[in-house]
């Protein structure tokens, strides 16, 4: 009789195993999109804000290498990745491919951040736990960052365009032209400005936004970006208007602005643009013309320090390291006052207000231990001078190639090997 009981118990436990019902284990590793779209609390939305800010940095090195290499600011020598010196420089028959990392990675990352911004907007919109001006604060941040990311992609693909409307992954908006793209980005910045004006900021940003981490500060950041876009559109009066609403100042520190910051904390990132000096193998060196074209006394030579030994690869060589980012936690500027001063100079020159343009240029020159500008005061000469200052002031911050392109001067960039090419734009990624 005892054994019957024991056997029955055995079978009972067995059947419990057999007929257990919990078969869906859910996602064990992370939250899901759905969990944010339900009814997100302020802390959830703040996680999306930080994820967005953090995500901006992921493919930064690819973007800066793309723009810096094609713009002949420098080379990335890599023993393991030849395409930095073949495809990007157009060696022999090599061309830019639509299936390679140099376009796919930065492009995808920018749109990933855009997607995160869209998710933030949607989650904030769905949330009943925050006030409407708090919602506006999230919208304003998300739209400003979206515009910035779209601009970076448009900088790469230029006349090949971008998609502006990507909110529905199953029904993506059309690829729009360069000018439509810029107009769309500008409109996005304007709407973000309106959001921020009506909104309040209840989220924390990193120290990269120090001084700009409230609604008023974010508006200044937003307008600084708008000034850059207006300059690309050659809307010179608008550049000046935007600058006046930004943190632009002829007297403030050149480095005042908004930065990507880096850290060693968990889940954080290190500055991918930092290579120690005199490395071998994996190096980022300045184009030889950086040192040969610089004016005597210009302290910006310190951005390209002399190496102990010349680095060379595949018929290219340089004896100067790129030394803009001097530690693994050094910040990378998103936009800073030195660029704004130069935009101010550019707009004034373009508006034929030469004294004001010259004044701004001299502020830059004097700031770098150069005497006042002494060349001819003509539009062309001042534009040349402005491009010189931009080249050295914004070295390896992602501008040279785009500046030369918008002034139709790509053919002035140096060719180092017979058979090299200077590309004017990247193809759209094959996935598009």
């Amino acid at each position: 009789m005892k054994s019957i009981i024991i056997n029955s118990l055995l079978l009972l436990s067995l059947s419990a195993v057999l007929f257990s019902c919990k078969k869906d284990f859910g996602n064990l590793n992370s939250p899901t999109v759905e969990s944010f779209l339900g009814n997100a609390a302020q802390s959830d939305l703040n996680n999306l804000v930080s994820g967005t800010e953090s995500g901006l940095r992921t493919s930064l090195a690819f973007y800066l290498d793309d723009v810096g290499t094609i713009g002949r600011e420098g080379y990335h020598f890599s023993a393991s990745e030849p395409r930095y010196v073949t495809d990007l420089l157009g060696a022999d028959a090599a061309t830019l491919s639509n299936s390679n990392f140099y376009i796919n990675t930065p492009w995808a990352n920018a749109y990933r951040v855009v997607k995160n911004c869209n998710l933030l907007i949607q989650a904030a919109n769905n949330s009943t736990l925050i006030t409407s001006d708090q919602k506006s604060g999230y919208y304003g941040f998300a739209r400003t960052i979206k515009a910035y990311q779209l601009l970076l992609n448009l900088n790469l693909t230029d006349s090949n365009g971008i998609r502006l409307d990507v909110s529905d992954p199953d029904n993506l908006g059309p690829i729009v032209s360069y000018s439509e793209g810029l107009a769309g980005i500008l409109a996005l910045l304007d709407s973000a400005k309106a959001d921020l004006s009506a909104g309040s900021v209840v989220f924390s940003l990193s120290s990269g936004f120090n001084g700009f981490n409230d609604a008023a500060g974010l508006i200044k950041f937003n307008r600084a970006l708008a000034a850059r876009v207006d300059a690309y559109l050659a809307n010179w009066p608008d550049v000046l208007t935007a600058l006046s609403e930004s943190f632009f100042s002829l007297t403030a520190d050149f480095n005042l602005g908004v930065n990507h910051v880096f850290g060693t904390g968990t889940g954080d990132q290190l500055n991918p643009m930092f290579f120690p000096q005199n490395q071998t193998g994996e190096v980022r060196v300045a184009h030889p013309s950086y040192a040969t074209d610089i004016q005597p006394g210009d302290d910006r030579i310190s951005k390209a320090t002399l190496r102990q030994a010349t680095a060379s690869l595949s018929g290219l060589s340089s004896n100067r390291d790129v030394w803009v980012y001097t530690s693994s936690t050094a910040p990378v500027p998103i936009i800073r006052n030195e660029e704004l001063i130069l935009l101010y100079a550019e707009a004034n020159i373009q508006n034929s207000n030469f004294p004001e343009g010259e004044k701004a240029l001299n502020i830059i020159r004097n700031g770098h231990h150069l005497p006042n500008y002494s060349g001819p005061v003509t539009k062309d000469a001042l534009i040349d001078e402005m491009l010189y200052e931009r080249r050295y002031s914004l070295f390896f911050e992602g501008h040279r190639w785009i500046d030369m392109r918008r002034y139709n001067r790509l053919n002035e960039l140096p060719l180092d090997r017979t058979g090299d090419d200077i590309w004017s734009e990247f193809p759209l990624p094959v996935s598009e």
């Binding site: 079978l11 590793n29 967005t52 800010e53 395409r83």
Partner: protein, 985 residues
């Protein structure tokens, strides 16, 4: 409740079953020999219908006691079983076994708890015996020992690093992004074969984007823990037609491993010792520099002058080095010790083994160690109840170094590729290594100071209970419960101290990984055998199954590590990642086998399965199977006195699934922090809530025959395998914010032919030659693709890439180089065909000579190893001029980048002498307690004939998945020579 009562009663009945009373016993003895009079040792002699039995000794003699009127069955591998009715006088019986090269009497497991003899089998099931697996030459790991031995398989080593890492594909690619690897079942336990990355991507950046792990980290896969020496037999179910009853995990085929069991009789103790040497199979050689060549490494004239002076100084000091040899030229010492003990009586048998191996690698400070304890026991509780237990504890470890693809110039091969022989990399008198001025890392320093170790503690245990609770003259019914678990802890220990050249930014990196995995499974079934008449018998089985898995991986990445320390708290910065997966599959099955006149066998069955990995976790999928085999000789259509001793035609059909990868239904948010602010960032993989499993149907048909009294047999099989709704990680327009999404993207097909010939061309008293020759061929075709052609995991059209495209082979490799800059096909990972031949020649009673040859004809790899060397200016043939432009070959190859991928898609066909061994046995030994000694010498992978221009044509640096055959500076393959001695006590 009624059900429980019924079952309870049933169990009680089993426990209380009376044992069959054994009547009066009497002694039986005899000798078992081959036709030519040679004694057969180790043959099983069993009294029919009982558990009584013994095995023959070295002289073929046996003794046992049996009831009068009993029959005895004598069986031995390679011979036909024989049943003998005992006469009055049953001493000194002379029993002769006929040879059976076709292994017609081999028992093949065809159901979850049923089996049939090969002669009645409807499928082409490959089996590998212990001798074939492990008796020719030494292999480091079990999966390595399978290589070249399975007709219909395509096996590749992902890396030559100690501890293995193999990819096994049966009958073509069965999945693009899903699991392509077979399910391994060891004594009824579904064992884990995952590969856990140690987080090397942190160091190499092989996969851009800052991920901690990637498919290029070349970890070992866990089936390598199993020791080949403990295996009795391996059975390979190559596709759904044979494996459907394994349901949702059978799509890649099933490899059923049976470990050694004891046999009744005196206790046998065997002690084996192997000693060996491991060396690189091939080195590529280095460029011979001259002052002018040294100068040409730079286009800067001043640097060029400095380089040529550096070269001349090194040359006059006699300091030109062959760094490839210094890095990959180490000779690893290998030792392997195995102590086994087996025996038992009629009620209980056991097998115990203790084994340890320790093998060095071709790179210093690398190697493999494996210690294993196994205890298998079988106990007859009564004549009706049998309990089988197998337990195995394994401790394995490997030091694997840093090789393969890398975007930071730190892996050994990449660093070598740009380091000329006149550079000085050796440490100074104080032991400090100089920086390599030509690369990001000094490979000698890396080898000396780094650590990349795996260590595993694993316990695998299986239990089978078979209880016959109903027995009559016509019917017996058995309850079979089988199950077990596989549990391991895996530690990965990666340390790159701060003094390393490339640790200038991170100042020391320590990556400590901890993984815990538990797999469990059970099968509860009822099996009824019903003899309807002497012309018809039926076997019915039905049951329930469950498999579950729980995997938890924690990786801690510490940087700014305090010198000499590896603990992750001894560091300035720490990042942790955790990854978990869980699944549970539940199933039920029923299977019916009918044997008509012992000539026609019909099989039909169906399994129902659900899996927590499917989009709909509660939906049951059905996997039917059916088979027919018709023995034409037994049914009298072919006379048995005619040409054919045996002629069988067969056909089988089955379906199986491959469940989606864990987590493919979710769009997850990954962590991405900034300055201590916790951040959530959307994953680049879009979730697919409606994801379905891949469905496979396979039809196979063939015929087998044997002639010349079983001395020659031939087997031919054709199969047609379709995969529906195959899973792909499709590339989404990345402007959606997502890069990939799982998708049921289309259908693909594999068709192939397998031919096998087994023969004993020579059989005399002094010499016997057994040979088998196999030929196999597979072709795949993507029959439907609902998305545009998709390039797959490689280096793009410029260097050659796989591409899934409707109407094309699934494994095609395409790239630039067509007319007008178009993209054309340059190759296919699929071999044209493969062949192998296994031979065993025994002569003069004492000698045995065995070898295995393997031919892979055609098939291409994407070879970037030689390209890296060209770029670094160090390829051995750099300055050779054999091209039409008259420039150095390396320059020519570099110039072709961007115009054609032809140079990089290379034929990887080969002929390999995989294993060769010569063994000598001594039976007459003056010392009485030693019963036998065997000594031998063997060579493994010693000879490879290939035109392929890298270390080894068998390579897959992108892991075990779909994209095999990508070659980027791997850990080179090795060859080995071993001396073996083994003693029986």
């Amino acid at each position: 409740m009624r059900k429980f009562k019924l079952l309870a009663a049933l169990l009680l009945y089993i426990v209380m079953l009376p044992t069959v009373s054994s009547g009066q016993n009497r002694p039986v003895s005899g000798t078992v020999t081959e036709l030519n009079g040679k004694p057969i040792s180790g043959a099983t002699v069993q009294v029919k219908g009982t558990t009584m039995g013994t095995v023959t000794d070295e002289a073929g003699k046996f003794k046992l006691s049996a009831p009068s009127n009993a029959s005895i069955i004598i069986s031995s591998t390679g011979f036909r079983s024989q049943t003998v009715k005992l006469e009055e006088n049953a001493s000194n019986l002379s029993l002769v076994l006929e040879e059976d090269v076709a292994k017609l009497d081999e028992i093949i497991i065809t159901g979850l708890s049923t089996s049939v003899k090969r002669r009645n089998l409807a499928n082409a099931v490959a089996t590998i015996s212990a001798t074939e697996l492990n008796g020719v030459a030494a292999s480091q790991t079990f999966d390595g020992a399978l290589n070249g031995k399975i007709p219909g398989a395509y096996i590749n080593a992902n890396t030559g690093a100690p501890g293995g890492g193999m990819s096994v594909k049966l009958r073509g690619v069965t999945s693009v992004y899903g699991n392509t690897q077979p399910l391994y079942v060891v004594d009824g336990v579904f064992v884990d074969n995952s590969a856990t990355s140690a987080g090397l991507n942190v160091i190499t950046g092989a996969l851009a984007g800052g991920s901690v792990t990637s498919n290029q980290d070349n970890p070992s896969n866990r089936i390598s823990d199993i020791r080949p020496e403990e295996i009795e037999n391996v059975e390979i179910l190559k596709g759904a037609s044979a494996a459907a009853i394994y349901g949702s995990r059978a799509a890649g085929g099933v490899i059923i491993i049976t470990t050694k069991k004891g046999r009744p009789g005196p206790t046998r103790i065997t002690l084996s010792q192997d000693l060996g040497e491991i060396k690189a199979s091939k080195l590529l050689g280095v460029r011979q520099f001259t002052a002018q060549r040294a100068a040409s490494l730079s286009n800067d004239s001043a640097t060029g002058v400095a380089l040529s002076q550096e070269f001349l100084a090194a040359q006059s000091a006699g300091k030109i080095y062959d760094y490839e040899k210094e890095v990959f030229g180490n000779t690893g010492f290998a030792r392997n010790t195995l102590l086994s003990m087996s025996g038992g009586n009629e009620k209980t048998t056991f097998y115990f083994s203790a084994a340890q191996k320790d093998e060095g690698g071709i790179v210093k400070n690398t190697g493999y160690r494996n210690s294993s304890l196994r205890f298998n026991a079988e106990h007859h509780v009564s004549d009706n109840v049998k309990l089988t237990i197998s337990t195995n504890y394994i401790n394995s470890g490997a030091g694997r170094s840093l090789t393969g693809n890398d975007n930071k110039g730190v892996s050994l091969g990449i660093a070598l590729s740009s380091t000329p022989g006149f550079a000085e990399l050796h440490p100074d008198k104080l032991g400090n290594f100089p920086n390599d001025p030509f690369a990001s890392s000094n490979p000698l320093q890396t080898i000396a100071l780094m650590r990349n170790n795996e260590s595993v503690n694993r316990f695998i245990s299986g239990l089978t209970l078979g209880a016959t609770f109903q027995r009559s003259t016509k019917s017996t019914t058995k309850f079979v419960a089988q199950g077990g678990f596989d549990f391991y802890n895996l530690e990965t220990n990666v340390l790159f101290p701060s003094v390393l050249q490339f640790q200038a930014v991170n100042k020391g990196t320590s990556i400590q990984g901890f993984t815990k995995n538990l797999n469990t499974n059970y099968i509860l079934s009822l099996v009824n055998s019903l003899t309807v008449s002497d012309k018809l018998s039926l076997t019915t089985s039905a049951g329930l199954t469950q498999e579950s898995g729980d995997y938890n991986n924690l990786l801690n990445v510490a940087t700014q590590v305090i010198s000499g320390q590896s603990n992750v708290d001894q560091a300035g910065a720490l990042t942790a990642t955790q990854f978990r997966t869980r699944f549970e599959n539940d199933g039920a099955f029923i299977q019916e086998e009918a044997s008509i006149m012992d000539a026609i066998t019909l099989t039909g069955g169906v399994r129902f399965d659900r899996s927590s990995n499917n989009g709909d976790a509660n939906k049951y999928y059905a996997y039917p199977k059916a088979g027919i085999s018709w023995n034409l000789t037994r049914s009298g259509i072919f006379s048995r006195e005619g040409i054919f001793d045996n002629f069988k035609v067969r056909a089988a059909y089955g379906e199986a699934n491959n469940v989606p990868a864990y987590g493919s239904k979710f769009t997850s948010m990954v962590v991405s922090n900034i300055e201590g602010l916790p951040g959530s960032l959307i994953n680049i993989q879009r979730g697919q809530p409606g994801i379905k499993p891949e469905r496979q149907t396979e039809f196979e048909a063939g015929f087998d025959f044997s002639v010349l009294k079983g001395a020659l047999s031939f087997e031919a099989t054709f199969y047609d395998k379709h995969i529906f709704d195959f899973l792909m990680q499709s590339n989404l327009p990345s402007s959606s914010g997502f890069s990939t999404s799982w998708l049921n993207a289309g259908n693909l097909r594999n068709q192939g032919v397998e031919l096998g010939l087994n023969a004993r061309p020579v059989s005399s008293r002094t010499i016997t030659w057994n040979t088998s020759l196999n030929f196999w061929i597979n072709r795949s075709l993507v029959t439907k693709l609902t998305i545009p052609p998709t390039p797959q995991g490689s280096f793009g059209y410029i260097l050659g890439t796989f591409q899934i495209e409707q109407g094309k082979s699934a494994t095609q490799i395409i790239g630039l180089g067509g007319p007008g800059g178009s993209i054309v096909k340059w190759g296919d990972a699929e071999p044209k065909f493969q062949m192998n031949t296994y031979n065993e020649i025994t002569f003069l009673d004492k000698w045995s000579f065995r070898f295995l040859l393997h031919l892979k004809a055609g098939g291409q790899n994407v070879n970037l190893t030689s390209l890296e060397n060209d770029f670094g200016g160090t390829s051995a043939d750099y300055d050779k001029v054999s091209n039409k432009l008259g420039v150095p070959d390396a320059i020519y190859r570099i110039m072709s980048i961007g115009s054609t991928a032809k140079e990089f898609v290379q034929n990887s066909g080969y002929l390999k002498l995989r294993e060769i061994g010569l063994y000598y046995s001594i039976h007459k030994i003056p010392v009485s307690y030693v019963k036998g000694i065997r000594i031998g010498v063997s060579l493994t992978n010693f000879l490879t004939v290939t035109k392929y221009k890298s270390y080894d044509p068998e390579v897959s640096n992108f892991g075990a998945g779909f994209s095999s055959g990508v070659d980027v500076d791997p850990y080179p393959a090795s060859k080995r020579a071993d001396f073996h001695i083994s003693m029986d006590f």
